[in-house]
Amino acid sequence: MDSVRVAIIGAGVSGAAIARRLSEYDLSVALIEKEADVSFGTSKANSGIIHGGFHHNTKYLKARLEVQGAGMYPQLHRELGFPYRRCGIVVAAFTPEEMTAVEHLYRQGVDNDSAGIELCGADRIHGLEPKLHSDVIGGLYAPAGGIIEPYRFVFALVENAEQNGVRVLRGFDVCDATFSGDAFTVTSGDGRSIRADFVVNAAGLHADEVSARFGAESFTIHPRKGEYHLLDRRTAACPDRVVFPVPTSVSKGMLVIPTVEGTVLLGPTADAVDAKDDVDTDGSRLGEIVTSAQRLIPSVSAKDIITSFAGLRPALDDGDFLIRESSAVPRLIQVAGIQSPGLTAAPAVAELVKDLLKEAGCELTERRSFTRTLAPVRRSRLLDDEELHDAWRADPDAGEAVCRCETVTRDEVRAAIAAGHTTLDGIKFYSRAGAGRCQGAFCTPRLIQIVCEETGRSATEVTKRGPGSELLVDRLPGTPDTPAVRTGTTRPTRSRTTPNAGADRRVDAIVIGGGAAGLAAASEIAQAGFHALVVDREPALGGILRQCIHNGFGLQEFEEELTGPEYAERYVEEADQHRIDRVTSTTALAIRGAAADAPTDAQGFITTLLSKRRGVAHVRSRAVVLAMGSRERNRGSIQIPGSRPAGVMTAGAAQRLINIEGMIPGKRTVIVGSGDIGLIMARRMKLIGADVEAVIEIQPVPSGINRNIVQCLDDFGIPLYLGHVVTAIHGSRRVNGVTVAPIENGVPRTDRSFQIDCDTVLLSVGLIPENELSRELGVRLHTQTNGPIVDASLMTSVPGVFAGGNVLHIHDLVDYVAEESRRCGRAVAAYLNGDAATAQVPIAAGSNVRYVVPGSVRVGATSTHYLRSMIAKVGAKVEVTVDGEVVQTAREHHVQPSEMISVEIDGTSLQPDASVEVSIR
């Protein structure tokens, strides 16, 4: 049996800080954690605030440790490099009564020696935080407060402690503790044991149970839940400082917190709960969070929520920390009740525990070779092009973008795994892969593959956060056990990649995205005699079609029914015929316009590309075609409350896992959303031998087409619940069920809700055009389509930049994607030819029309437009009016919101000042 001088139970921020502090001494130390990774308890889900030292009275131990700990952060940050920003804290008061309360806080802060604390009048506070509500009359400012990424702090502490000899035992659940002779024996559930002369109980929520196992004093930890929303980096509501309301008697209130990573946290709530694993989010509380946050900062919008989560504070009855040698069991140091401000206080807690150990007889002599600093963790996203290219020279994996939202490269994921983080949550916390707006929909299959390659595990062994949270349940017959040998960077089918793409290249048009849209546009550009370059991050061209193995494509265009891959290959072959240049396994990181004063031959655009083969490369072009397709809306977008277990994924991610990777993501499925993707996936799950318990649709009508309802659901007897909503997801590690409620008068009838058991929830709740690159380029987006606003020639608000396919608006049929993108390609050719732009007239979306794309018509020509109906109707009319007079009527057999309508608008006799409107009646 191994034996150490000190065993620390619990690798949250307290245990980690203690371990790192003790590693400065000549001492053998073990850090024991029951979860699969460190920081998986309270330390992962909290506000990440370094408090300002004014919330608590000095009579509390926690108040003293808060101020002392806060003061230690700047140095720790220099040594360990975790994300930390001393941004300061403001407390905003709306009334004179609140101002009086603020003055109390100020006094407390002064008593606690909170550095630089001040009272603010209206001008001062609005100057400090311009995003505050205009009704704020004043408040308090504590410049010493700040923000950190809590798990990154814990990871850094643990990594540094390990460097200095601390042993970390993960998955070690302390079940038994005995004292014999002169030492403790601590045993885990799986039979491992370790002997220690001293033990520190830093077991967070479970400190009371651990104390009992040692036969030490009894106390009770009360879990108190805090729920949060996380907002996308894109939000307009990111404050410069942490913004607090004036606290109430029960809590510090709900805050608006900027994060070091540029996202925004809203919350937390404070609710006592019974179970120590109850981290479910609650629908009604989540609504309150947004409302409270908007009171402080009006620009907060629920639209920007990317995920919601909850954490538990381990509170003792008296609300204070309990840190002392056990009165019943000598040499056991209790570190319990570490709720807020536990993060802030952690370095000071470690200091105190070190002193307590010394008093208890643990001699401490400083280690001669203590490594104080940690090598910085590289972030590809934050590097400029040159730095990233250098990183790629050193490690070609820096050229492979794995997570698209956060631009995390493969080497960063490898670094996370090398640092001991082998679960997807661990990798996310370390590298941010999966932490962005798509919440892992894109990168999860890739991450699973990398974990397999790096650890030799099979795909079914990879977990979200440890045993019980496996992501995949099985493989399809014949799929190899480990996906290791089929890395996505293999040679693409019949590719003709251009030599020396690493150097600056010049083309007429660059096409971002090689799906149906990109290929169709590029073919037209090439046919007109121009040089087009297609870029795609996947190893093969074809886009999303490659994973849509079902039939139903091309009926309009080819008058035969093709599967997705067949349709895609037709387009790839057409591109081959036109000898179109292409680079695959290559991500476009940014597009920028050349400087306005650049010489004529250097005008246009510069696109930054990243690939494993060439690192960072730049392509100059006169025109740009945006054809990036779309991404799926996810759980955060529709805010399904409940727990966050493995087994919840978007339908498209499941489709990829099944059809490309050959995996089985689950055996009992509930599908949320009755769009075509959800329906197709319902049948797909059935055909791979899984059960589909239900499809839940919030609308009273299905959003998929009839054929799919019949052939994907009815054929298999899968129930479709129309007008129902999933009100909660259950299961702590893997999903075990959902609660479903009928909708009445627009609200869920929770009294009539029922539960459906399942191990998988697939979300098919819509697609969103993927416009990050467009947005950064300054392209204006349409509020209805979420795609660029385009003129009659599909040109965006940035001259020379065009768009087609799902990046422009979501299409129901790929045939329309191709048709539109061919038009786009021809317009690009006309632009490159220097054809003079003709006058255009905007088209208004009239009655029952959600939008019209393109939203203008060319004077003197006839053009094709796509509309979306807001109503479903048999025998409808599409009417075009000019200056209020109906000039054109087209009969539509049947219209419905999920089906696109194509109309030809005749602009031959239009006056340039006419007002044109399209309606459905």
Binding site: L476, P483, T493, R494, N551, T563, N706, D714, D715, M870
Partner: protein
């Protein structure tokens, strides 16, 4: 957003009730078998609905799409389809044959992988082209 003039589509509870899928209207068809074994179809707005109902009643078929295990390609699965509709009762057997297959790259699109599966007259066809990726390159990339 509900069509005032369209019935809500609900799940099929009864074999006599079918949704016509020939056009997007999706008429709800009611099918009765007459004594002379002909069908009486009601609910259809046009004659295509009746034809559909007859086919669905007498010889329902579905195109089957799936994937097969493939070795030596860039990915582990090759997408495949049936060359024509498979009688619905034979789909399970058809899939079993698909899942038994172990292919080796290269395979090109439209290759018949199995012909006349279980005497159904329907073939199994590859729907994508997969080139061979040699082992050495695989290791380089790993």
């Amino acid at each position: 957003m509900i069509a005032e003039n369209q019935k809500l589509v609900t799940i099929r509870r009864d074999e006599r009730e079918r949704t016509c899928i020939v056009c997007p209207i999706g008429c709800r068809l009611t099918i009765d078998v007459n004594d002379d074994r002909t069908l009486s179809v009601s609910g259809n707005r046009c004659k295509r609905g009746k034809e559909y109902a007859e086919e669905e009643f007498r010889d329902p078929r579905r195109t089957v799409t799936a994937t097969c295990a493939i070795r030596g390609a860039a990915v582990a699965r090759l997408p495949v389809r049936s060359s024509a509709g498979v009688p619905v009762d034979a789909i399970a057997g058809f899939l079993a044959r698909v899942y038994e297959l172990r292919l080796d790259a290269p395979v090109s699109r439209a290759t018949v992988l199995l012909s006349d599966v279980d005497g159904s007259g329907v073939d199994l066809v590859a729907t994508a082209t997969m080139e061979r990726v040699d082992a050495e390159q695989e290791e380089d990339d790993g």
